[in-house]
Symmetry: C2
Subunit: 346 residues, 2 copies
């Protein structure tokens, strides 16, 4: 059995490995020409996301091209707000847009049914799992409650949305706390469905947690993540949870100890020593700079080697510190995947 | 003597105090109606900055209105690039703009003379010092080398400029390192002049150090700050240096140990426990959220009390985690200054 157990899960289980597993956030999608071609044919972005055949195809495209150890389901963060009744659309060349915030009581009723509402994503996972070698894992994912709330409160992402959401967390604290708790329940329902459909690990993306004061971070990031992890476990799901609290700075230490996630994703800033400290409690994932991946050259090779050396002594998943940038040369991706999969220094 | 020694300096010297000193980054300027009136009369922003009578008046305006323990010289970060020969102008409603990057050799020749070139700022400091009670300190300031380089390489600030600067740090490493070293020398010259003119503490603002990988942070932030501190000390200046590496996350620990600054400014995210750890080595300053100062209300009162309680056991300067936002209600500032100056819990 062990021979075909995915390397990703063996790393998370702290098995000694000859080299760490590798995958990249946003490895599927805009950086690949075959994706851009498929998207042009499919029409709107949501047509891709909600068609299991197309979405599983997009999920598998990078797996054919590169020796990644895991596929991540092609989807997008705001599908959960949409499942909760908030209007969602995409403006060409910009990010997602959302309509007015639905009534909280109405969302609370829908929250436990979000897995069912987004059932087509389960079919995407089944198709992707069937199309992938057993030693390569399928990762499900969801946006984190605070990140979702940021989009939902302002109707869009970005720095201005973050400032608005943080301000409302100060001025309408009870409302924001309730919203985040509803979103935690919805996210748990969504992730449990994904695990039951075959996702072998579940990543929570907290994209908008930069520069939050500690008390807000505790209540709006750590607590909801802990609720999600507890609900996933209570449902009998054994797939490990990867939490990625991007931009959490020194607060990542409390996050690793208190959220209950089995893997902590680190952003580009994470100090080497801090990563080693976290590895005593959790597996870590990250943290190559996507700007450096795009830039390439000898600095890239040197940095990849540095990351492998500094963290391969403990449970480590090689990844970026944020998503692949759309205009990243594919030969840079190929070079890094080769360097990591060919490495034997652990 | 001790009775009139500024509270700010006594805090930095680790004297036990009944309550911490307080000042706010960007306390002078756009948040005050008397400033907006004066600026409308003065014409361009640089007319204000380089006229010692006007600049000292702007520096003192907040000191008349609020019981701040320190005045910070009214100036702007890109005056050093201008002194090094890069064209500087302001677009109405936007930030500073800079022309093409000057030749590095030419800038290297000018760097040690920047204090002299910006001599009018010394006169501003003399006038401000003369207009202020002895128990209130005058703080000089300069932009940090990496932040200056970010502006200089892209001709403007912002997220896109940060990405461009970080990319060039990867692809043109030798050039960027030399630029930052020249800027460290220029900044040291500028700060030494300010101290000799009467500035009693010197703050280095690193506004654009968010999400930098550790190796870049070490070479482009910590090292140049250490060079500046060493040069200031070598010149016989006793004024302490306050380093503010905004967004440095968990790397702030290395910064506090290795940069040589006597005070570390903390951003809004700094965990309580980390601040207490840093206080064993340095004084700390910060970290109230400017969004909360603007929002006001009972959350503001509660958070100010929390900051006072969590950090007043060690050397602490009450401040924001970033600058005052222009549309901050003045009664919120008044309330926080009263709360801090009236506090006796230390």
């Amino acid at each position: 059995m062990n021979a075909i157990r995915p390397r990703l899960l063996r790393a998370i289980d702290r098995e000694p490995l000859d080299r760490p597993p590798i995958w990249f956030m946003r490895q599927a999608g805009r950086c690949l020409p075959e994706y851009r071609e498929l998207r042009a044919k499919a029409g709107g972005f949501l047509n891709l996301v909600f068609d299991p055949k197309l979405a599983s195809e997009v999920t598998l495209q990078p797996m054919r091209r590169f020796a990644y150890d895991a596929a991540v389901i092609f989807s997008d963060i705001p599908v959960v707000p949409q499942a909760l009744g908030q209007q969602l659309w995409y403006e060409e060349g910009e990010g997602p847009r959302l309509g007015p915030l639905p009534d909280l009581d109405a969302m609370a009723v829908l929250a436990p049914k979000v897995g069912e509402i987004l059932g087509s994503v389960g079919e995407t996972i089944r198709l992707a799992r069937a199309g992938l070698e057993p030693e390569r894992a399928v990762i499900g994912f969801a946006g984190a409650p605070w990140t979702l709330a940021t989009y939902m409160l302002q109707g869009r992402g970005g720095d201005a949305a973050r400032a608005v959401a943080r301000t409302r967390a100060f001025t309408e604290r009870a409302m924001v706390e309730r919203l985040v708790d509803i979103l935690a329940e919805a996210t748990a329902s969504y992730l449990i469905m994904q695990a039951r459909a075959g996702a072998q690990a579940l990543q929570i993306f907290e994209s908008w947690a930069e520069l939050m004061p500690e008390d807000l971070f505790e209540r709006l990031v750590i607590q909801p993540h802990a609720r999600i992890v507890a609900a996933v476990k209570a449902a009998g799901v054994t797939a490990p949870v990867i939490g990625f609290p991007r931009g959490s700075g020194a607060l990542v230490e409390r996050y690793a100890l208190e959220s209950g996630v089995q893997v902590v994703g680190l952003d580009v800033q994470a100090p080497a020593a801090l990563g080693r400290k976290l590895q005593q409690t959790v597996a870590i994932q990250g943290a190559l700079d996507p700007l450096l991946l795009r830039a390439g050259g000898s600095e890239l090779t040197r940095r990849v080697d540095g990351l492998l050396r500094q963290w391969s002594g403990g449970p480590y998943i090689f990844n970026l510190g944020h998503g692949v940038l759309p205009d990243t040369p594919l030969e840079h991706i190929e070079a890094v995947v080769s360097q990591v999969t060919g490495w034997r220094g652990a």
